[in-house]
């Protein structure tokens, strides 16, 4: 048997499909997507809203505070929140890879997307957690009691390090294995092919 003998069963598989079932699935997709067409990705909204809230709250603090320590801390937090919004929106961390690309290119883009995510999560201490933690710690030392300030600062640092640890765990448990799998898949498109193995496709 050769590969051409399988054309008839392949066409049979297509003809045997349950048209009514497919139309029913398609109608579910249609109604779901009509809602999606008017929505932005939920995670983007949450991240941007959270950043907006932080900017508003700490901007009010900036205006109302009467000591330079609180002022400095609030400025750092506001700048950090703006920087986080810029990074999230301009690195397009959550953007899906277009599915209409040629398969080899789609695979490559998926690897690039995961690499972007890994880079951001590995450096989350510098662009996300660190600046916010720094601003909060500075504001903590506006308190009268040094002990209270130290404890507050310690709690902020502990929380920040916990968030950092969660992100590193996500990299190790999810993103790196996914990257490995994607790289293997991409390699199947790049296998070294011998020019002596020629067959006629048509």
């Amino acid at each position: 048997m050769n590969l051409d003998d399988l054309k008839t069963p392949w066409h049979s598989m297509q003809k045997q499909c349950d048209t009514a079932r497919i139309d029913e699935i398609a109608s579910r997709v249609g109604s779901k997507m009509s809602r999606f067409d008017h929505c932005i990705r939920r995670r983007d909204i949450i991240e941007n809203l959270a950043a907006a809230l932080v900017i508003v709250v700490f901007s009010i603090t900036l205006v109302k505070c009467n000591d330079w320590v609180t002022f400095a801390g609030a400025i750092i937090v506001v700048c950090a929140a703006i920087e986080i919004v810029v990074v999230l929106n301009f690195t397009r961390m959550y953007s899906p890879t277009p599915v209409g690309l040629p398969l080899a290119e789609h695979c490559k883009k998926e690897v690039e997307k995961v690499d972007r995510q890994i880079f951001l999560l590995r450096n989350v201490l510098w662009w996300y957690v660190g600046p916010l933690m720094l601003g909060c710690c500075v504001m903590a030392f506006a308190e009268d009691s040094l002990i209270a300030s130290t404890i507050s600062c310690g709690l902020y640092v502990a929380f920040g390090l916990f968030v950092y640890w969660i992100n590193q765990r996500a990299v190790a448990k999810q993103l790196l294995p996914l990257r490995q799998e994607l790289k293997l898949a991409c390699e199947t498109f790049n296998e070294n092919l011998s020019n002596n193995e020629l067959g006629d496709v048509e």
Binding site: M1, N2, L3, D5, L6, K7, T8, P9, W10, H11, S12, M13, Q14, K15, Q16, C17, D18, T19, R21, I22, D23, I25, A26, R28, V29, G30, S31, K32, M33, S34, F36, D37, P98, V99, G100, L101, P102, L103, A104, E105, H106, C107, E110, L178, E181, L182, L184, A185, T188, F189, L193, S194, N195, E197, L198, G199, D200, V201, E202
Partner: protein
């Protein structure tokens, strides 16, 4: 409210390609073909917004279906080396030439090859030209020819009971 133009475009695309999309879902995920098919149709719908007509829309739809199927398998935690092994006796065609046996044989053979080769085989079985297959896969025409040749050899060996 659904965009009526987009709905109409989607419906026409579905009418022309429903059998093919369902068969692709079956080929890649026999256990949950309906779920995969739904995901494929979802991606087609979403992708219609960004399709600019740079290629034939049916070819584009084929790419969407295959990319979605490949991603589906990854997100479902399946790996190439966990593909079920076909028992040797099942690799033989029965003597009565029943169409259903041939379909089952095709399904079994598809499960023994890699996801990439499976995509290549489906495109070949759909009578796409070498140029069209290369366009969908993102490979050169010569690479497509060599791979098809290898797959043909593999099929012959598989049928002969070679593991």
């Amino acid at each position: 409210m659904t965009n009526p133009i987009k709905k109409s475009e989607f419906d026409h695309l579905l009418q022309r390609n429903r059998g093919r999309l369902a068969a692709i879902a079956q080929a890649y995920s026999p256990g949950d073909a309906d779920d995969l098919l739904q995901e494929i149709l979802l991606q087609v719908w979403k992708g219609l917004n960004s399709f600019k007509g740079e290629s034939n829309v049916d070819t584009w739809c084929y790419r969407v279906a295959l990319n979605t199927s490949l991603t589906w398998k990854r997100t479902r935690g399946r790996r190439r080396n966990n593909l079920p092994q076909v028992p040797m006796e099942d690799a033989q065609l029965t003597g009565n030439d029943d169409g259903q046996d041939a379909v089952k044989l095709l399904e079994r053979f598809l499960q023994t090859i890699s996801d990439t080769d499976r995509a290549l085989v489906l495109l070949y079985l759909d009578d796409l030209s070498g140029i069209q297959i290369a366009d969908v896969m993102g490979l050169s025409e010569s690479a497509v020819r060599v791979r098809i040749h290898r797959i043909k050899n593999r099929l012959a060996n598989w049928e002969a009971g070679d593991q």
